[in-house]
Symmetry: C2
Subunit: 223 residues, 2 copies
């Protein structure tokens, strides 16, 4: 059986780098990508994912997730929880943001892969720089791989090429993989701006990585 890989593609810098990594590792013909329309604030992410996938000639499937929205902030939820428009001050994400979001993404990706004889998943999660997200750490991904393998009775390897890389090292990897130009198609800004706002935490983190790598971010030069 040929090894095939499915990349979880958010349309951001990290998952785009992972897409290039997967193509180098498995070959373009054996790579496809999946994105999730889960009620994210900026749908432009999905457009970016589609454009990135098209650029490298890889299929991109978008799966809907309506459950996250229902998990918080409606009449069904505990009235003692204020979900209104409040945002998490650190991440800028709504406080209705689902805990363990990557568990859901990767389990759906595995379910999608299951019937298509795909036995490798690739995700851009990283421990470095992301201490706020316990579902990004290596121990979580290892446990999840075991859950998926047992729960679906299959072999399914989850690859995390960026797990221990800093943002600087991720930029360096992108350069090495020839993914730098594609970075102009990606989206990072929490404020949904293209070109990026440059001041939100996501933009700051991205800028820091490019600066430390000594590379100009092509996203800064669009339109």
């Amino acid at each position: 059986m040929t090894d095939k890989a499915l990349v979880v593609l958010s349309g951001g810098q990290d998952s785009t780098t992972c897409l290039y990594w997967a193509i180098k590792r498995f070959g373009q013909d054996n790579v496809s990508s999946v994105s999730f329309d889960y009620g994210q604030r900026h749908k432009v992410e999905l457009t970016c994912a589609r454009e990135v996938a098209a650029r490298v000639g890889v299929a991109n499937v978008c799966l809907p997730i309506d459950t996250f929205a229902a998990l918080g902030g409606d009449a069904l939820t505990d009235a003692s929880i204020d979900v209104s428009d409040e945002k998490d001050s650190q991440t800028g994400l709504p406080i209705t943001f689902v805990p363990g979001r990557n568990l859901i993404f990767l389990t759906y990706a595995a379910a999608y892969a299951y019937r298509r004889n795909i036995n490798h998943l690739v995700t851009g999660v990283a421990q470095t720089d992301y201490s706020g997200y316990p579902d990004c750490r290596e121990s979580t991904i290892e446990a999840l791989q075991r859950s998926i393998e047992l729960g679906m009775d299959i072999e399914m390897q989850i690859h995390t090429p960026l797990m221990h890389r800093s943002k600087k090292e991720t930029v360096e990897l992108a350069v090495e993989l020839g993914a730098l130009d594609a970075m102009a198609l990606t989206h990072t800004c929490y404020n949904g701006r293209r070109p990026p706002c440059g001041v939100c935490p996501a933009c700051e983190l991205r800028a820091k990585g490019f600066e430390e790598a000594g590379v100009r971010d092509p996203l800064l030069d669009i339109g």
Copy 2:
């Protein structure tokens, strides 16, 4: 902190028994239930779940899942897969049925529990009688609990009171917990019939359990 439990309630015999088990263990005030509207063939299951929960005075939240339907059988999927109306001959479920379905259900249940200070999940999965579903076995549930605990950075115990019980023993437990009458409100039949068709695999399995326990199934006496 008071121990609170969330029961994954399908509206069937097993999860209803688990709801009674949870009430005995945690107290009625500390138990709530969650059901999933995931495109199942028979929506009557959700009505049954609501009625069972109402009978015991426990909240029942229904969360939508539109992703399962999108995983198979639309223009996005591999054209080589025939998903039409074909059913799995053993289970009677559509072949678009999602692999590892319980991984998704329990992860969503955990995400729902997370913000409500609920630290126990209860599910009716069982190894006995269900060898076709690898996501029901104990090793899967143990791995999943670890994924959830690591991925959400919380303690979350998954209880499986029926894991090693036969259908006969599950009926006996229902009797012991005073849940027998509530069985008239549950749904099992793959053909969606109430009273049950009596000939589908699910009806046969249920009937066998009641027969071996020497108990009359109250569902047979409705309507």
